[in-house]
Symmetry: none
Subunit: 138 residues, 4 copies
């Protein structure tokens, strides 16, 4: 009748944002960083000085999409991804830079990063994932 699944606390979400922010600083690329829960609701966010403000929306949509599909964003065929974006009014995005937080095979939340190049965005999101995985392993 019931499932149980792990959920990120706000402590974990803030840790992810801070770790992603530090990595973005080390790359010299200001970013928007969004962390959402498994239901795609915002948990933590930071927009760094110099990051594009329209990426408030893209970083959040990336995190929401990664939570929805429980997978990294950007893998849909281009036309299909665009149609999904149109149909969901931007809620689904095929932009790269969203990664799910998977713990013991269960979705616990997701992170989305936007304002840099796709590679920068992925690297900064991964830094957030790595930080929470390290903390959980301790």
């Amino acid at each position: 009748m019931l499932n149980h699944r792990p959920e990120l606390t706000d402590t974990a979400a803030m840790l992810m944002v801070e770790a992603a922010r530090e990595h973005a600083l080390s790359l010299g690329v200001p970013q928007n960083i969004a962390v959402v829960d498994a239901g795609g609701r915002l948990l933590a966010f930071c927009r760094m000085q110099g990051a594009k403000f329209h990426s408030i929306e893209t970083s959040t949509a990336k995190a929401v999409t990664a939570a929805s599909i429980a997978a990294p964003t950007g893998g849909a065929p281009a036309d299909f991804g665009l149609m999904l974006g149109v149909t969901t009014q931007g809620q689904f995005t095929n932009l790269k830079g969203g990664l799910p937080v998977i713990i013991d095979g269960h979705l616990a939340g997701a992170i989305g990063v936007g304002s840099g190049s796709p590679d920068d965005d992925i690297a900064v999101a991964q830094a957030g994932i790595d930080a929470v995985m390290r903390a959980l392993a301790d």
Copy 2:
């Protein structure tokens, strides 16, 4: 032709969120905490475990409103405030818990807090304001 005004950095915004979060923990009231720039664009955010997720919207709207009016939220007459909310599609809110960051007489941003009672929300927002003012005075 030009004005000059101060703007919160992401360091200031994260400091405000962290200070507000600590105060909310000390009150035992989980909160949504949003910090925006002077133009009402999101800078930093945290939703604490147990806080209502619809207050993602209310806390952000409180911060946006406090930035727009450069004053605390909640002071409009009830009917007028409701009409402003409807006309702006929720961008303006008359809910209490939004406070502007005023530096040397200039608006630098705002904080909005939502999920507790109005008094709790104001107190937690004020903790964020106090933290940034202390940091600037150092």
Copy 3:
């Protein structure tokens, strides 16, 4: 089969914005000023320094409403006005400060003003109306 109706040119719309702006300056009340055509589409706009940015939406909605009803805004019973606002998703507003431009009994456009008190908003909108009427009489 056809009606003919007067339409504001952009010259008329800019004249209205400038006249309203000068009156707002003389009152010491910064304002958002929007002029729309008879179909409620934006023709000219100015947000003065210090005016609330959420009033970009309210001033425009006031102008749109005054064009739609071909009458000043704010005259609906409170409950009915609020319901109209909700039903039109903010397109109709019962806030005061929107005035139609009526030329020889025909609607030619409308002006909406927002950020001050209701009386200020109406006075500034009226200054815009007066300016275009004077210009037409010349």
Copy 4:
């Protein structure tokens, strides 16, 4: 904790709109002209007689995008630009005709022009930029 940056006054924004409008008249191409602040909020606007009314949205989106990216619009790869537009629900546009106002290396606002050809739109936007730069140099 704080940054300081220049902001366009409404005097500067109206000057930009007027200069752009004159250039559009000289080209015989009616235009929509939008000027926004650094946060992408509308400061001044004019739709000229004969300009497409849907370009109210495109001209404004161009100005908002140029403010967000602090660069001219239209430079993203086609697929990526389209996806950004969908994800931000039209807030980001890859259409040409948006230019930032950069003063001493700082973003102070942006202008967007729409209804003509891409080259016309860019030329009219540039006329607005030129006017404010000349005024600041005086």
